[in-house]
Amino acid sequence: VIALTANVYMEHLKEDATVGFDEVLVKPFKERDLYEKIVNVLKPENMTRNGMDFPNGKEIVSDESLFSLKYLEKTSGANREFEIKMLELFIRNNTVHLEALKKGVSDKDWDAIYRIVHKMIPQFRYLEIGKTERKLKLLEELTGEIKDLEKIPALVKEISAETSQILLLLADEVDKLMKKNRHLEEAEDGMIVDHEKTR
C-alpha cells in the first residue's frame, strides 16, 4: 500500500501515520515519482527503467502568471479534452469551497475551514497557482493549530478574491480550449471533404 498525502512537511506527520505503508507519495505527485514508487513496491520483471521517460521538470511557481496548465499537459500527454475536464472540475469544486469557507468564517468553525483548505491545496498545486496556494497554506496552519484566529477573516477574504478572479480566467481558458478543439475537428472534416473531391 502506498500512502498519499498533501502534506509536504513530512516531519509534521505523526510518526505512526505512515507506519505500515510501503511508500509515501506527496501530492501533487510527479509522474516519475509515482511510477518509481509503484515499481519499488511491485518490482515486476516486465517494468524496466525504460518505462520512465517522463520529463522531470522543476516545479514552476511563478507570481507573474496566475496559473499554468503545464502540469496538466505533462500528466495527460497534452490531451485537450482531459485538460478541459480537469479545469471544469477545478471550477466546480472551488466554487463550492469558496462558499463553504465563507460559511466557516461566519460560523467560526475552524475545523471545517481546515478540512476545506486541505482539499483545496493539491488542486491549486495542480494548476500552479502559487500565490494563492501560499495563503491557503497559512490558513491551513492557523486553523490547524488554532492560532492567530483574528487574522483568518481577512485571509479568507483575500483567498476568495484571488480565487474568484482565477475561476473567471479558467472559464475563459475552457472556452479557448473548446474552440481549439472545434477548429481541429472542422479542419479534419475539411480534409475529408477535400479528399473526397479528388476522387
Partner: protein, 68 residues
C-alpha cells in the same frame, strides 16, 4: 502477454484520482478509483489489486485500518 497489473486509488479529491488514472492507464495498468472507504473496500474486494494508493487522511476511517 502478461495480465495488466491492477491498482486501486483511494482519494476524496476527484482531480487527484483523474490525474493518476490518466498517468497509470497510459502505462497499461488497470485502474480502479474510490472516493471513500466503503467504496474502497468494495473495489478492493472485487478487483483484488496488486497495489493500493491510499490517501492518508482516509485512514482515520476504522474500516480501512486493516490495510496498513
Amino acid at each position: 502477454m502478461n495480465q495488466p497489473q491492477k491498482i486501486v486509488i483511494v482519494d476524496d479529491d476527484e482531480m487527484t484520482l483523474e490525474l493518476m488514472r490518466t498517468g497509470l492507464e497510459a502505462r497499461h495498468f488497470t485502474v480502479y478509483t474510490a472516493v471513500d472507504s466503503m467504496d474502497a473496500i468494495k473495489k478492493i474486494q472485487e478487483s483484488k489489486p496488486d497495489l493500493i494508493l491510499l490517501d492518508i487522511m482516509l485512514r482515520i476511517f476504522p474500516e480501512l485500518n486493516c490495510l496498513a
